[in-house]
């Protein structure tokens, strides 16, 4: 295989990875700030994708409207679910995972009720059709869009977390919730907001994902494992870590498909084990 073709494949991997970054960053955020393992995070991603499908079905050129509305929907749903998780904040992780599994079951059936069993596809909006000639192939504009949006959102996230008062409050709550609360920060409300923002991120990821692949029931279970691998490799609780992890995931998976198409994920499992052997908290993670 020519170097050009390999690089092309790597770039598509970067695209898919950046899409997953939106999902993984939210997951990392929830773990870092609330110490909650949100096994159901990808379900918000999937719900947003379905909502996007509906909106694009209702309005011509609805995709841009969906990009705004669907993540908000996911965030609102997240706000409600956070109230359920809040009862388990200091409990064992497995209880949180079981709560999440219950939510996955409930939402899964609600999605089946609303949208039916068949897979759905969202038509590519005209502005994003076609591709640019690159490396001997036609690199789809949708992938460029995905990378762009994910990068923009990532930068925005960084700015909010490290350059605003809210961001300081969030990081403080992640470091020491009790003390932060004692200093007058409403930590409960903060937790709710953080959860909603994380779900909003997942929602954006889901809407963008509709450009790359079809929507189907059970897609959330496939993606959540990827998200966890990313977050574990990158470091749970680190946003930059989830960026690094996402890029690694995307590239390794894309290359893995070239080598062992049926078992590309194995490379990632091996990588995950290796990373954890040498850096038990992930590449950029820190012990709680």
């Amino acid at each position: 295989m020519g170097l050009d073709a390999i690089l092309f494949q790597v770039l598509t991997g970067v695209g898919k990875g950046m899409n997953l970054f939106l999902l993984a960053s939210g997951l990392s955020l929830i773990y870092g700030v609330l110490n909650v393992v949100n096994f159901a995070h990808a379900t918000f991603y999937l719900i947003a994708a379905y909502i996007c499908y509906t909106i694009t079905g209702l309005f011509p050129n609805g995709y841009w409207l969906a990009l705004i509305l669907a993540p908000i929907g996911a965030a609102l749903l997240g706000g409600i679910c956070e109230r359920l998780f809040s009862r388990l904040y200091d409990k064992e992780h497995y209880t949180q995972i079981m709560l999440a599994w219950g939510l996955i079951l409930v939402f899964g059936d609600l999605m089946k009720l609303t949208w039916g069993r068949e897979g759905k596809m969202v038509p590519t909006p005209n502005a994003l059709a076609g591709g640019v000639p690159l490396l001997g192939g036609n690199f789809p504009i949708t992938y460029i869009f995905v990378i762009g949006v994910a990068a923009a959102v990532g930068i925005a996230l960084y700015v909010v977390l490290y350059r605003t008062k809210v961001g300081i409050d969030v990081r403080a709550a992640a470091a020491d919730a009790e003390m932060t609360s004692a200093l007058g920060v409403p930590v409960d409300k903060l937790y709710n907001i953080v959860f909603m923002v994380a779900c909003w991120l997942a929602g954006v990821g889901g809407v963008i994902a509709t450009l790359l692949s079809p929507i189907y029931l059970g897609g959330d279970l496939e993606i959540i494992l990827a998200a966890f691998i990313i977050v574990i490799i990158g470091g749970m609780g680190s946003i930059l870590g989830s960026l690094v992890g996402s890029l690694i995931y995307g590239v390794v998976f894309a290359l893995g498909i070239l080598v062992l198409p049926r078992f590309a994920l194995v490379f990632l499992y091996v990588l995950m084990v290796l990373v954890l052997i040498f850096r038990p908290y992930g590449l950029l993670g820190r012990p709680r």
């Binding site: 497995y94 599994w101 219950g102 939510l103 409930v106 609600l110 995950m272 954890l276 052997i277």
Partner: protein, 306 residues
């Protein structure tokens, strides 16, 4: 205990065939839940890989009997042993991690097994699965099958009980309660965890193999993530720190599955709702709650008499 045995023996002569088949399936799910609890409830290791191990046991038996023409007794011996070997390898890799990392890696391996089953069509039949399992004539009737499987399950559960009640089991519980402390008193935590995980995998493989027998084949659905969550659900329902908790939970779960499944195809919706309520309001499980209520009452009686 004697009453229970009497019921088990008398059952097929009292109720209809569909009930007999149901209880047979229940027995296997009970074994699965108890096997899983060896990892989760007894040793405190959260695992999501058991779905893959269950499927592995089922497929090993099915492949042996359908493709390899191996007679059932040998296949039934091979399946749990080979599954245990697989579990040993997976466990050896996973055990270097703890907590949520361990759980996710086991999930990864469970998915790997599922993907392998799915993709290797020539051996496993892929999406279609393997059918046409020939059961030996001694097990041809539902009643005979019932007795054979019940006997195997009871032996297996008895073995698990012996393990749990033994000094080995006590060490596992010590590790569950406080890993660091266990290490400080000289217990080789990793080795015990690996042994517990492997034993759990052995019985899970047996459960999977038995399931393949009653289903007369093996199908990809035996190894899904949902399958991995079932015994955990049963444990939470019944109670993970009580020996018979997961068994009770498996019974309730299967009953709900059948009864609610008869009315609607949206059983997951109901199951999810129940699970959410359980986790939020009854995390120790039904049997666990009964036990703690009994203890509380006993304490109150003691105090009032003192």
């Amino acid at each position: 205990m004697i009453l229970g045995l009497a019921i088990i023996v008398a059952l097929p002569f009292v109720v209809g065939i569909s009930w007999v088949l149901l209880v047979t399936e229940l027995a296997i799910l009970v074994l699965y839940a108890m096997a899983y609890n060896l990892t989760m409830g007894v040793t405190g290791m959260l695992s999501f890989g058991h779905g893959g191990l269950f499927g592995a046991g089922a497929y090993i038996l099915a492949i042996a009997m359908i493709k390899g023409d191996i007679p059932m007794p040998y296949a039934l011996l091979a399946a749990p042993i080979l599954t245990a070997l697989i579990t040993l390898v997976i466990g050896w890799l996973c055990i270097r991690l703890t907590g949520i990392y361990f759980a996710i890696l086991t999930l990864a391996f469970g998915q790997l097994i599922w993907a392998t089953i799915w993709k290797m069509r020539t051996i496993t039949g892929g999406d279609d699965g393997l059918t046409g399992l020939q059961v030996p004539s001694v097990m041809a009737s539902p009643t005979n099958q019932y007795f054979c499987i019940l006997a195997i399950v009871m032996l297996a559960v008895l073995s698990i009980k012996i393990i749990v009640d033994s000094p080995f089991g006590f060490t596992l519980k010590t590790i569950r309660e406080n890993q660091t402390r266990a290490q400080c008193i000289g217990i080789n935590v990793k080795r015990y965890q690996l042994l517990a995980f492997t034993a759990s995998g052995l019985f899970t493989g047996l459960a999977g193999a038995l399931f393949a027998i009653i289903m007369r084949g093996a199908f990809v659905e035996f190894a899904t993530v949902a399958r991995a969550f079932e015994p955990l659900f049963a444990g939470i329902l019944g109670g993970m720190h009580v020996f018979w908790g997961p068994a009770f939970g498996a019974g309730v779960l299967l009953s709900l599955d059948i009864f609610i499944g008869a009315y609607t195809e949206y059983w997951p919706l109901v199951a999810g709702g129940i699970l959410i309520l359980l986790v939020l309001f009854l995390p120790e499980g039904i049997v666990g709650r009964i036990q703690s209520m009994r203890k509380a009452r006993a304490q109150r009686l003691n105090q009032s008499s003192a």
